[in-house]
């Protein structure tokens, strides 16, 4: 929870506007509780859990700790509910506790943008405030940081007139785990009592944590809900499926394309630089020295003017010129996508399904804000087939649980013609129906919401198009899966027919009539009259390899000859370590085997093993064939498609080579590139010295 206190910008609620200066924080809270998430008893509990858990996840991520989060909800008399939240994060230093729990955090830090969960709430102070206002309860905090020998135990209340935390009963003690009795090395535990209501359903603490666990496969999250008499009403444990922590995101500065007048005015007012050129270069991404000079000349502002002396007319001209001068796009390493393989694991942790397809799109930019879309689709299994599909919306790894209909992410799902991908979509309007769930994750340094409640993403063409592309990709996967299922089912039935039922029929007639059992081979050939192919993907626990075996049966009256092709997840880290039939690489990710002639009634088996994958990574593939006569269970290879794959491969190789060449080229034509390199390196020491130098100039 929390993390170092410098992490957030602490905005004194009294500073929010000049008019509100004299208004107590409690009044501010009361007035705005609808968008702070405390407007109903049910939602208040979800919001409180959300604030606690988001902080825990952010803090663990920053301290590079795999999170273990425990949420306990205990019903007490009346509408009172005790909320306990505990993590194994870095803890909060004693002196920072007051600030983390006692001041309102509004928005994210101004001058530096990066993707954090904390962007989306008012912070844990809201929880302390809500508890105090509804039940008068103090919030109890236990915080232990690794380098100290004991934990801090303290109770917190708020002085609503001064907007300050009031500490009481502070002590230091050893903090031991309730169950094991072992001393806890680091972590944070908060408990408080508030008026709230625990409910199940689509909008519930359970659903919030379930969704959170999907997009945080590296976290283990536990929920226990107890009744007044201590009976367990609900409990759940989502165990981590990945040991990989999300990467540390780089902070970036805002890009001029996404800046609004008010923000720019404020940035100018608070500028630490004394010259407009350095102001532009150091507060924005994508602005080179040359671009800064061009921007200023275009807006008729002298380069050495002091930012604090720029009037509103100047500011308007500057905003205007932002759109006219060619600027570099913002860097995208400030984004932290979950990664398609991890989403798949996260989804499989929460939903038992038959099919999962996930995709992580490349980052893009909209109005100066880098963003990245991830889409997942699961089908079958535990999901119910009546009614609309389940929609799982996320912005920066935070579940969005309200206002589903008005959200751009939902609208993107509704804009797809799902019928052609195998889902029921009555009238082609609204959400499709069926046993499916669709996940959309929008990672962005600046998620635009429809309202302050921050529950629905507002319309944006670029974001919409990216989501659509992702959805089409997973949709195609679903379509293939369903088609293959039908084929597989057909093949399975035929096999059962000739291998089980037919021999039983023959045995019975022989027994009833007292005659000899006839030879069934010619009957079988006549019934099947086709070539069948079955592939089976598996996992070898001992050798830690993913396996695939392909069986081809010739149940026709003629001999057949085929080349079998298999799609496999080829990459730098994945390779074929075992291969029964040799064969050759046909293209990237496609391996081919030429089979010996298959006589009527005979079969052939190919088996391979892949290293570099973990269990559950390879659950779906495609088998193709080349040769005369159809194979049930395999698709005839599209030679054009194969050519295209090969061509793309060749282009990629050329592109790589060209990049390498570019890296060593000249100074003359590559000024911009050079500057990017300079910016990217972001040698902070040099820049710091530079800014200090400027300050001394005054």
């Amino acid at each position: 929870m929390g993390g170092p206190s410098g992490e957030f910008e602490m905005v004194d609620a009294r500073d929010i506007s000049n008019k509100q200066k004299q208004i107590a924080v409690s009044e501010f809270f009361e007035k705005n509780k609808h968008f702070l998430g405390f407007d109903s008893l049910q939602r208040s509990l979800i919001t409180a859990v959300k604030e606690a858990v988001d902080n825990s996840l952010d803090a663990c991520e920053e301290a590079r700790i795999l999170p273990e989060i425990k949420v306990e909800i205990n019903r007490q008399k009346g509408d009172d509910i005790e909320l306990i939240s505990q993590d194994n994060g870095p803890g909060i230093p004693r002196d920072a506790i007051e600030n983390v729990f006692g001041k309102f955090l509004l928005g994210s830090r101004f001058h530096a943008i990066r993707q954090t969960r904390g962007q989306q709430g008012i912070g844990i102070t809201g929880v302390v405030m809500y508890a105090q206002l509804t039940t008068g309860a103090k919030t109890r905090v236990i915080s232990k940081i690794a380098k100290e020998s004991s934990a801090v135990f303290v109770e917190l209340g708020l002085d609503t007139r001064k907007n300050k935390a009031i500490k009481s009963r502070e002590r230091r003690d050893v903090w031991a785990d309730e169950n094991t009795g072992e001393e806890i090395a680091h972590g944070l535990k908060i408990s408080t009592v508030m008026k709230a209501k625990y409910q199940r359903g689509k909008q519930s603490v359970f659903q919030y944590l379930r969704m959170t666990s999907i997009v945080n496969p590296h976290a283990t999250i536990t929920l226990v809900v107890k009744d007044r008499d201590g009976d367990i009403l609900e409990d759940a444990k989502w165990i981590r499926t990945s040991e990989k922590l999300p990467r540390v995101v780089e902070e970036i500065k805002p890009h001029p394309h996404g800046i609004q007048l008010g923000t720019l005015q404020r940035m100018l007012r608070e500028s630490e630089q004394n010259r407009m050129t350095s102001f532009l270069r150091h507060n924005f991404s994508g602005v080179s020295v040359r671009a800064a000079k061009e921007l200023l000349s275009k807006s008729e502002i002298e380069e050495n003017r002091h930012p604090k002396r720029i009037n509103s007319e100047d500011t308007k001209r500057l905003i205007h010129s932002f759109q006219e001068i060619k600027l570099l796009p913002p860097p995208t390493d400030c984004l932290s996508p979950i990664d398609d393989l991890l989403i798949k694991k996260g989804l499989s942790k929460a939903i038992d399904s038959r099919f999962a397809s996930t995709v992580t799109r490349l980052p893009s930019v909209s109005q100066g804000n880098p963003f990245q879309i991830e889409v997942g689709l699961v089908f079958g299994g535990d999901l119910t087939s009546d009614g609309p599909i389940e929609v799982l919306r996320f912005a920066n790894r935070v579940p969005l649980m309200y206002q589903q209909g008005g959200c751009a992410l939902t609208k993107a799902i509704e804009s797809i013609n799902w019928k052609q991908y195998g889902l029921d979509h009555p009238g082609g309007k609204g959400l499709p129906k069926g046993a499916a769930a669709v996940l959309i994750h929008l990672a962005s340094t600046n998620v635009q919401f429809t309202s302050e409640a921050k529950e629905a993403v507002s319309d944006n063409e670029e974001v919409f198009e990216e989501i659509r592309k992702g959805l089409l990709e997973v949709g195609r996967g679903l379509k293939n899966h369903l088609k293959k299922n039908t084929q597989r089912e057909k093949a399975r039935e035929k096999f059962e027919l000739v291998n089980v039922i037919l021999p039983e029929i023959a045995n019975k007639t022989s027994k009833i009539l007292g005659r000899e059992v006839p030879d069934l081979a010619p009957v079988i050939t006549q019934i099947m009259n086709a070539v069948f192919c079955e592939e089976e993907l598996g996992w070898d626990k001992e050798r830690k390899v993913a396996t695939c075996s392909i069986k081809v049966f010739n149940y026709t009256a003629r001999a057949r000859a085929y080349t079998i092709l298999l799609k496999w997840p080829e990459s730098e880290s994945v390779s074929i370590v075992e291969n029964s039939n040799g064969g050759r690489k046909e293209a990237r990710g496609i391996w081919a085997w030429r089979l010996d002639t298959l006589n009527p009634g005979s079969s052939a088996t190919i088996s391979i093993a892949l290293s570099g994958l973990s269990k559950g990574d390879w659950t779906d593939t495609d088998v193709f064939f080349r040769g005369n006569g159809d194979i049930i269970g395999a698709t005839k290879i599209d030679e054009k498609l194969l050519d295209e794959i090969r061509k793309n491969e060749a282009i990629n190789v050329v592109r790589k080579e060209m990049l390498e060449v570019n890296n060593i080229t000249t100074e003359n034509n590559q000024v911009e590139v050079q500057e990017v390199v300079f910016n990217d390196n972001d040698d902070s020491e040099i820049i710091d010295i530079f800014s200090k130098f400027e300050e001394e100039e005054i």
């Binding site: 059962e496 029929i505 019975k508 009833i512 069934l520 010619p522 006549q526």
Partner: protein, 369 residues
């Protein structure tokens, strides 16, 4: 088959069943998938038999062969049933269709998926072997009808003794219960003192007529059909019509499903068209409630549902309803878009049905009392 006296002997039944197995076995020996040939059991394959005066299956045949899993399973089941019947014949036992369904649990891949499957298969075997299911020692679960009125039967009880029962004097309010087997070996029609026989669809109306003493007042026998009448109900009506030569009148709700009940009584049911001449009473008349009655008596009615309309349209292409009378009734019903229950007559009081409605309707049929 139409004459009860010509029932097959045990040996003939076993031979007939074995011929099914033989057809399959011979095909396999020739290297061809085993199969079984059956008439198509749908309204598109029933035609009027001029000689018998009822609807029978036409010439359309369907072949059930082992090229799909479902059909192959059916063939395997037929063989299991064949074996099971042989055992019952040899040991002198019988079983209900439901019991056979449960026994099939032990048949591995030959077990039935539902009770309906086992009922249909028993009928398939009847058709192919030209035997009756009584020959197979298979009994239906279905509930026979109830009869009240001055008619007398003799029924052979469990001890093997013949017992005389008058359906007015020897029964309670629920009447005489028709057994599942009403063939000569089990039931004899002794005597009657009635002018006609009236079959009633719903229990509520049957009880109303009994309470109002309609059987004595109008000198008739009342039969409660209990919805779609069981085979034994249709068979006993056929025998009463044939042996006593009395008019049979059907009094049902006014909806598409009631029309079908009548058709199965008078013309033969699609499912049992192989024994129509044995079950159908071609002399039966539909008394009401007709679509005209809804208008004439201004009866409380319900809107036709989508399913009702579908059923009516389906009846328009059913050869059994291809008469001027039925076409008029069905089209009128579609036109007014209404249906009515028998008990809607209670709108005019509990005695209206016996004092006014039935006397008027019966007078139209030439039956006055």
């Amino acid at each position: 088959m139409s004459e009860i006296g010509q029932r097959k002997t045990k040996i003939e039944v076993k031979e007939a069943l074995k011929s099914i197995a033989a057809e399959m076995h011979n095909k396999m020996e020739r290297g061809v998938p085993p199969s079984m040939t059956l008439p198509v059991r749908a309204k598109t394959n029933i035609g009027f038999d001029n000689k018998l005066g009822v609807y029978k299956y036409g010439k359309k045949k369907s072949t059930r062969d082992a090229t799909s899993l479902g059909s192959a399973r059916q063939l395997l089941r037929s063989l299991h049933v064949t074996e099971f019947i042989e055992q019952m014949i040899d040991s002198g036992k019988s079983s209900t269709l439901r019991e056979m369904y449960y026994i099939s649990e032990g048949w591995g891949h030959g077990k039935f998926g539902s009770q309906n499957e086992s009922n249909n298969l028993a009928e398939d075997l009847e058709i192919v072997t030209k035997c009756l299911r009584e020959d197979f020692k298979l009994r239906p679960e279905e509930d026979g009808a109830r009869i009240i009125g001055n008619v007398t039967f003799e029924e052979r009880n469990r001890k093997g003794d013949w017992m005389k029962i008058n359906c007015r004097d020897d029964v309670g309010d629920s009447g005489y219960g028709v057994p599942y087997n009403v063939e000569a070996e089990k039931l004899t029609l002794i005597e009657e003192d009635v002018d006609f026989i009236m079959a009633i669809e719903t229990g509520g109306m049957f009880d109303r007529l009994v309470e109002n003493g309609f059987d004595e007042e109008a000198r008739c026998a009342l039969i409660h059909l209990k919805g779609q009448p069981a085979r034994s109900t249709r068979r006993i009506m056929k025998r009463m019509s044939q042996e006593w030569n009395k008019p049979i009148l059907v009094f049902a709700d006014c909806d598409p499903w009631s029309f079908r009940i009548f058709a199965s009584i008078a013309y033969g049911a699609i499912k049992t068209a192989h024994i129509s001449e044995y079950l159908a009473t071609k002399e039966a008349t539909y008394l009401g409630i007709t679509a005209d009655d809804i208008l004439a008596y201004d009866l409380p009615s319900d809107e036709l549902t989508k399913q009702d309309l579908g059923a009516l349209d389906s009846e328009l292409t059913d050869p059994r309803f291809n008469t001027g009378y039925w076409k008029d009734q069905i089209n009128l019903m579609k036109e007014i878009g209404k249906k009515a229950e028998q008990q809607s007559l209670a709108k005019y009081g509990l005695d209206f049905v016996t004092d006014t409605y039935l006397p008027e309707k019966l007078a139209d049929e030439g039956l006055n009392y």
